[in-house]
């Protein structure tokens, strides 16, 4: 009878969680390596085209980004027409590109200036007229190395 109620010995041992922090740290380091900090807040929505012959962008400090896409306000729903250009943190017009490039170039170190690249992150439905205008502006401000951002097919 006494044995029957003697249940204290059947206690389930506590789960050993001492390796849990290590596990989570591993996941943390994985994310720290594969991602990079978001530096600008995107105000336009864009979907980059897909390609097969892509190359990775090197020297992050020498890269200037130009975003072209639909404005985040849902009122713009005219296909392909009036895409908006975002430079740094604000929506801009084509004429702002020159001064923007000059400003960014001035803040770079001399060796970065030499390998300065402009990365164009444009939506796949952008009309080429707009892209050509941007390219002409870049030409005029002697930012001749460009990079059409795309994703792997």
């Amino acid at each position: 009878m006494q044995r029957m109620f003697h249940r204290n010995n059947h206690e389930v041992p506590a789960l050993n969680t001492s390796s849990l922090p290590d596990l989570i740290f591993t996941v943390l380091f994985f994310f720290m390596i594969v991602t990079h900090m978001r530096d600008v807040e995107l105000k336009v929505r864009y979907e980059v085209p897909q390609g097969t012959e892509l190359q990775k962008l090197t020297h992050k400090s020498a890269v200037i980004y130009i975003y072209v896409g639909r404005g985040s306000t849902a009122s713009h729903h005219t296909d392909g027409e009036d895409m908006q250009i975002q430079l740094n943190d604000r929506i801009a017009t084509i004429d702002d590109i020159k001064s923007y490039i000059e400003k960014e170039r001035a803040s770079m170190s001399p060796e970065d200036q030499a390998r300065m690249t402009v990365s164009i992150k444009a939506d796949r439905d952008t009309p080429m007229g707009q892209i050509a205008d941007i390219k002409r502006m870049l030409q005029q401000s002697f930012a001749l190395k460009i990079h059409y951002s795309a994703s792997e097919k």
């Binding site: 969680t17 001492s18 943390l28 190359q55 939506d123 952008t126 050509a132 930012a143 059409y148």
Partner: protein, 194 residues
Amino acid sequence: MFRRPKKRMPGLNTTSTADISFMLLIFFLVTSSMDNDKGLPRQLPPPQDETHEQELMVKERNVLELRLDAADQLTIGGEPSSVDELTQRVMEFVANAKNDPSLPEKSTRDVNFFGRIQVSDRHVISIQVDRHTTYNAYFNMQNAIVAAYGRLRNQLALQHFGHSYAECSPDERDAVNIVYPQRISEAAPEIIDN
């Protein structure tokens, strides 16, 4: 006298380490972005050359004319075509393996590693784009052209060095690039009459 009382260090309580690292993890998930910086690198011509280049006389056999109209239709030298065919056409055009008189001229030059070799340095791929062409169509065309050059260079590297273009040393790459230079001319987009 020699019997010490057994002192047991209590284990460090690490239950909250998991919570702390979870918080770090979530912080990084929120502040970082996964978007990869891949793309197609291109070089723009300097501004004053734009008008000059158009005045340059180029022999007809040396030009491959590519046009994209407002409906994203690609025409190669006047005939409607598709991006899938473009890579092959550009490869034939640039390489001109049989020295066809209707395909571009080549010149013979001394190139490192190769000695005297025929170099396809006269060809011009002329791209004309309508203002209403989508960026996607333009990008696919550029991608196909780069793919064509990439394959030609790779073929040459495999043939001559026995390894692919990607495995070449910078000097070897320069030599291959001299044999197959990228000569692409882009006119400012214009309205092409339909």
